[in-house]
Symmetry: C2
Subunit: 437 residues, 2 copies
């Protein structure tokens, strides 16, 4: 009954990158201060991760996070899920039974996705949700579920129940470190951060734990991204900010164009700082900027940790029609030929023209000549669809870096989009082909 794995393997991941804000594509706002990775969760939160034996390696595989000391205003939250026709049981159960605007806990496991498991999978997920609620003294509808690992494997419920009990006894404010370890699969390094954010009304905290390396092509959320803050937000504000920031972060990423069955993103606000963020206030603006930078950097880290990734890229497409630009940007980001060239530090831009042409189809732009302009790392190589003279040595040097930028200009004005993507390497094949189940 094994056979499918959402993402394979299990490895001891390296710690989080420090400094966290390392990409040239993210500007950390001046009012955001990066804290030590060991700074712990925002006020009101505790977490723990334990090993319950789902992973054969014995590595942590069940994580529990709870807001059990909320501020006087109570908790608020928002959550989003993979837009797949084949959602996993924890996704379906969370959508159906959770009060997504008032979540107080997250129960997440790695090593098993509980996907393609039908009615039994739903029953298994419900049992673990109920057990977590009992262990934490809250309602099942307050417990968000997340599972990642082998698709088509049934959840080893007894193990998870034992893990919930163990984790509930080990909850602590610096427990985000063990919680992070419990949600990882093929991640090569930890993708998490602890930030302090200065607002006009006072300082608040933001923490996030994120996992994902393969099967990455979000619609609006991908993989796991759990964000906690001690700010007090109305549920509508939490929903708005999470949605907007997802659109500018995880929605702009592709490792392999493969949407998962289990992707889950959530923002939980304890309000324990006493700092309330009013809608349409300067506080909201600044908090939103911080959340945006946090999630954008996490998303880029996720791409950089794409299975086998050695080099990442951003493609920016400008032109006249949003829908066309989106198709164009995705086609480039998901082209195995473009990704292989990126891997080989090969300025093979004919493949970008080809990927664009194939995706936009012959009906587009008169079906004739596609008058695109193309720049790689600022060097123009194509004007109005035709190759131009450029400094080949300069281009070859420019594509040796770790972050490569492609700028595509299509006819028309007023629209722009971007997609971050990783390369296609031998290691991607090794990870996904050579280790049979």
């Amino acid at each position: 009954m094994s056979g499918g794995t959402e993402v394979r393997g299990d490895q001891a991941a390296a710690g989080p990158p420090h400094p966290f804000f390392g990409s040239r594509w993210v500007d950390a706002p001046a009012h955001v201060r990066e804290l030590s990775p060991d700074a712990g969760l925002p006020a009101g939160f505790r977490a723990a991760g334990v090993a319950c034996g789902i992973k054969p390696s014995g590595n942590p595989d069940v994580g529990l996070l709870v807001c059990d000391a909320p501020g006087v205003g109570g908790v608020s939250s928002a959550a989003r899920f993979a837009d797949t026709a084949a959602p996993a049981a924890p996704v379906m159960l969370s959508r159906e039974r959770c009060t997504l605007s008032a979540l107080r806990a997250i129960l997440a496991n790695s090593g098993c996705a509980n996907a393609a498991t039908g009615k039994r999978g739903m029953e298994d997920a419900a049992k673990t949700q109920g057990a977590a609620a009992i262990a934490l003294g809250i309602e099942p509808s307050e417990v968000l579920l997340g599972s990642t690992g082998g698709i088509s494997d049934y959840l080893p419920v007894e193990n998870v129940l034992r893990g919930i009990l163990d984790a509930s006894r080990q909850l602590s404010q610096p427990g985000d470190t063990s919680f992070q370890q419990a949600i990882q699969t093929t991640d090569a390094f930890e993708k998490r951060a602890n930030l302090a954010v200065s607002l006009p009304s006072g300082e608040v905290r933001l923490s996030a734990q994120c996992k994902g390396a393969g099967m990455i092509s979000p619609r609006f959320a991908t993989m796991f991204c759990f964000v906690e803050t001690d700010a007090q937000l109305a549920p509508e504000t939490a929903e708005l900010l999470l949605s907007v920031c997802l659109k500018r972060s995880f929605d702009r990423c592709s490792v392999d164009g493969q949407l998962s069955t289990n992707d889950t993103a959530a923002l939980i606000c304890s309000g324990a700082s006493g700092v309330a963020i009013a809608a349409e206030s300067e506080d909201e603006l600044r908090f939103g900027e911080a959340l945006d930078a946090l999630m954008r950097q996490l998303a880029i880290l996720m791409v950089a940790d794409g299975e086998g990734a050695g080099r990442i890229a951003r493609v920016v497409v400008r032109g006249g029609e949003d829908a066309r630009l989106e198709i164009a940007a995705r086609a480039i980001a998901n082209s195995p030929l473009v990704k292989a060239a990126l891997h080989g530090a090969d300025p093979n831009w004919g493949r970008i023209v080809q990927a664009l042409g194939g995706a936009l189809g012959g009906g587009g732009l008169g079906g004739g000549h596609l008058p695109l302009d193309l720049y790689i790392e600022g060097i123009q190589v194509c004007s109005a669809g035709a190759a131009i003279e450029y400094d080949q040595n300069a281009l070859l040097e420019a594509v040796q870096g770790k972050e490569i930028e492609y700028d595509v200009i299509l006819p028309g004005d007023g629209a722009e989009t971007e997609v971050f993507f990783s390369d296609l390497s031998h290691e991607y094949v090794t990870i996904n082909a050579d280790y049979t189940t």
Copy 2:
């Protein structure tokens, strides 16, 4: 000004597979007889391939094929091109200036795609078309152009003109062998065939030369596929048969989901056999069956020769809506995770569920549980969306073969589609990443 290659490299390809009809997915009709690969072209045709120095290797790179001894009814033909928004110059010129129903010659080169070359590319293509017409004593509008090789490279016109002159002096009926060599790029073996077809009205011949290994994801035609017959067909019949057979062959293939800028398919009928094929006759039916088997086997060979391919698969999707099934089948065929599992002989069917779910999206089928049935090599692994018990050893053994079949059953009735695809291997990455331009 180099940089892009449509398909890379150049190698001495092995000869054509013999017997030609080798796939379990093609039934060669009883009235079709396979001839020796050296049997030569049908009556009325001559061809040649020569080296003119486009390829640094010195391998043949210009091919010329002509119908210069047509039957009393004259020639007829049909041609189709890649449905790309970025067509190469030879594609645009052939569409604009050729009488596609009365083609008499094909001028094809490898080593340069003449794509992303703008106005100059069109002028270069026109020069070579004109030269071929003069060399053959026919009209430019009767010369179909085909180029394959580096995208963004300008065509070395002088070399091609020299090649045309050389080739025109070497034309011969068995010239399909050198013509085939001149159109190949990364092909590992020759994809061509010579057939005899018994019809109620007499025997006719079919020959075909095909190239393609990477950048393969046709809309209605991909790569080069040139087919010649000495049967006499009305242009409408040629158009109809080519269209129908393309839909069942090259349109059903994917190596890497990447539509090329240069794909061209053509059928040229010399009528030199004196056997006329009337519309809606038994002759047409039988000829169509032969053309169908020929093009289907060529398409499968093209997938089997996909860059780095070690194993190929067919996914058959049955259910209720044509458009949905097409999306589903393409999503599975183009999933790098499914393709990597195919490569590893890994019965990792969770990835098929994931690919389907991602492609169909959350709005589909109620957004809840996707009730699909899934069989791999006839072994059912998933029923109504949930994993079932099956013989894991039997499945593991079944996926070791060279041709693997996946059968997916979605809700609804009356529709069915299929896509042939290759695996994702280390060699694909090597071919497309490790050799920088």
